[in-house]
């Protein structure tokens, strides 16, 4: 069985496989978050989506999220698979599996993981509508840019 805990794939995600990665005799709960493609966003109809990832960095960021979770909730196991490429309405874009001895921590850690994915994992979504397309960014309006304005370097290469 594939035991890579963090994956970017271009095929449909096997939910059961992601779940199996966090099965543990110490667990009393396994919580699965399944992120799916929504048809309507603020009244606008999506036809389909395309996801793109900077895969090697995305995997590193998944590992960082896992480390952060381990610091907060040491008994949690986590596995994440995100899909890229063309996705239709209701297709599964991401699966986050978390196991824990007790359920409350599993809910907390799973929500933490999806929040952090939206902040630090380099994956982009392109929306296809009836009247056009757009790469979507900054859905949370809390993209972690460095504090302050970077120095302006225009003219440096003139």
């Amino acid at each position: 069985m594939n035991m890579q805990l963090f994956e970017i794939v271009d095929k449909p995600i096997d939910i059961e496989e992601v779940k199996q990665k966090v099965v543990s005799r110490d667990a009393g709960a396994i919580l699965l978050f399944i992120g799916t493609v929504r048809e309507f966003t603020k009244g606008k109809k999506t036809l389909h989506l395309e996801y793109q990832a900077y895969s090697p960095m995305a995997i590193k960021m998944f590992e960082q999220i896992s480390k952060e979770i381990e610091e907060r909730w040491p008994d949690v196991k986590i596995a994440i698979t995100h899909r890229v490429g063309h996705l239709d309405i209701s297709d599964i874009a991401v699966v986050i599996a978390v196991s824990s001895p007790h359920r409350k921590v599993a809910y907390e850690a799973n929500e933490y993981a999806i929040d952090r994915i939206k902040q630090i994992v380099p994956i982009w979504k392109k929306e296809f509508w009836e009247d056009g397309t757009e790469w979507i960014g900054d859905q949370l309006e809390n993209v972690p840019y460095p504090v302050g304005n970077p120095p302006i370097m225009k003219g440096e290469f003139s």
């Binding site: 960014g137 370097m153 440096e156």
Partner: protein, 77 residues
């Protein structure tokens, strides 16, 4: 020589996923300025960047052989 990786709208606007340029030993911020000169329709100043798959500040130096990725606002999940 450094590698510059482009994603999402940057990749579509420039028409390339990767650039190889002679900008070793410049800072990330300086390279952002260079990109804006090459591609005046694009803005890089507020954009996140990563050097060798780690988030980088504008002050970080990009060395020969490094990979600099520009990270537009992300929308995964």
């Amino acid at each position: 020589m450094i590698h510059i990786l482009l994603f999402a709208h940057l990749q579509e606007a420039i028409g390339e996923a990767e650039l190889r340029v002679n900008l070793s030993d410049y800072t990330v911020g300086q390279i952002k300025g260079w990109m804006e000169k090459q591609y005046p329709m694009l803005s890089f100043q507020q954009m996140m960047a990563a050097v060798n798959e780690e988030f980088a500040t504008d002050e970080m130096i990009v060395n020969d052989g490094d990979t600099l990725a520009f990270i537009p606002p992300i929308s995964g999940g």
